[in-house]
């Protein structure tokens, strides 16, 4: 479920999570199909981004995520359990690109 900025919302997209105001009141429920007026209302309310249905696409490339991961584990990957932890996170990153 990607998070999309209000500027790039399109009519017909469906909310995957409800939009809730400061006091916890639900303004638009999950599953609501966005109309032009709903999008205008959202931008008037200073809401930056909302969750919509559909596959999520990671913000960074697979190569960048994996090379950052290598860099972070550089000092400790030979310590007990650390290579396992790194492998699990690597698998998780790869799942994102399937």
């Amino acid at each position: 479920m990607p998070k999309v900025s209000v500027e790039s919302l399109k009519v017909g997209m469906k909310l995957s999570k409800p939009i809730v105001n400061d006091t916890g009141m639900v303004l638009l429920g999950a599953g609501t199909e966005l109309t032009q007026s709903a999008i205008e209302r959202l931008s008037a309310m200073n809401i930056a981004a909302v969750h919509v249905e559909g596959p999520s696409s990671p913000l960074m490339s697979r190569e960048k995520l994996l090379s950052d991961l290598d860099a972070r584990f550089r000092k400790t990957e030979n310590e007990p359990h650390m290579s396992d932890l790194k492998r699990l996170i690597k698998e998780h990153i790869e799942e994102l690109f399937k």
Binding site: M1, K3, K17, P18, V20, D22, T23, G24, M25, V26, A48, A49, H51, S56, D68, L69, A71, R72, F73, R74, K75, T76, E79, P80, H81, M82, D84, L85, K86, L88, I89, E91, H92
Partner: protein, 277 residues
């Protein structure tokens, strides 16, 4: 500076002019272990900014009551006094935290969510308590950088240039690190024993006598959140997990995968206190 003197300086942090007024007032209330629910609730309700922050956080995935808590007194009943005291401190140090270290709030928030997910998986009775300990585990970094802003800049710079962990660099400079400073300040503020130990031992969880499992979870959440590259805690490397604590938590590969997936899903919801949310 000798350690005793350093400790006194850190303990007097609430007198610093850089501490926001609301935080100073809050500390007075939090320090008092006999402060009643009504007193705390009235104090929070008298400050609209604080009220809105508290409600945003309790209704966010950090706590698992999304969209269900509409008043401060309800939060107190659902979460209990100790959790709310910790959370109030967390949301009030938020700005100070971001000033101290850009990304530290995200790191802390990530740890709070991770700790709650793991605590629930382990069937711990009060997952919120573990989560609060994780939210506040790096409070010592905030204290050190507030009290010694210039020195702390040098520490961060050294960490970067010499490829150190932040706790190594702090120790080189002050001969103590942020977990010591965090423990001093938590004691000064009369935090519950469980919380003090989880803060004090988040790098040496096997030394915790009262709450070894809570300390282990906070420790591992820190490792995991850095492993995922979420937020910034002062250095660029994942610290090693303590093997005994890792075994104490006892998560299988499958459990860990579940934790990572749930954590990413919750963190994707964003930060309840970031200005654009």
């Amino acid at each position: 500076m000798d350690i005793q003197n350093l400790r006194i300086q850190i303990e007097r942090i609430d007198t610093l002019p850089t501490i926001p007024k609301v935080l100073r007032k809050l500390l007075k209330i939090i320090e008092n272990p006999r402060a009643s629910m009504t007193e705390i609730s009235e104090f929070v309700s008298s400050d609209p900014v604080l009220t809105s922050r508290v409600l945003k956080v309790v209704n966010s995935p950090v706590y698992g009551f999304p969209g269900r808590i509409s008043s401060v007194s309800q939060a107190l009943i659902l979460l209990g006094l100790n959790v709310v005291r910790g959370m109030l401190l967390g949301v009030s140090v938020f700005e100070v935290m971001e000033k101290a270290m850009n990304g530290l709030w995200r790191h802390s928030l990530g740890c709070a969510v991770a700790a709650r997910v793991i605590a629930k998986k382990k069937g711990i009775k009060e997952p919120e308590e573990v989560s609060i300990a994780a939210l506040l585990h790096d409070i010592g970094k905030v204290a050190l950088s507030l009290k010694f802003p210039e020195d702390y800049k040098i520490i961060i710079d050294n960490t970067d240039k010499q490829s150190l962990f932040i706790f190594e660099s702090e120790k080189n400079f002050f001969s103590v690190n942020h977990s010591d400073a965090g423990s001093w300040i938590a004691q000064r503020w009369n935090f519950p024993r469980n919380l003090i130990e989880a803060i004090e031992y988040h790098h040496k969880p096997h030394l915790s006598k009262t709450v070894p499992l809570n300390a282990a979870i906070v420790h591992f959440s820190d490792v995991l959140v850095r492993g995922l590259g979420f937020g910034f805690a002062g250095d660029h490397f994942v610290p090693p997990v303590n093997p005994a604590s890792f075994q104490l938590i006892g998560l299988s590969d499958g459990d860990l995968k579940d934790v990572i997936t749930e954590l990413e899903d919750l963190l994707e919801d964003g930060d309840p206190l970031s200005p654009e949310e």
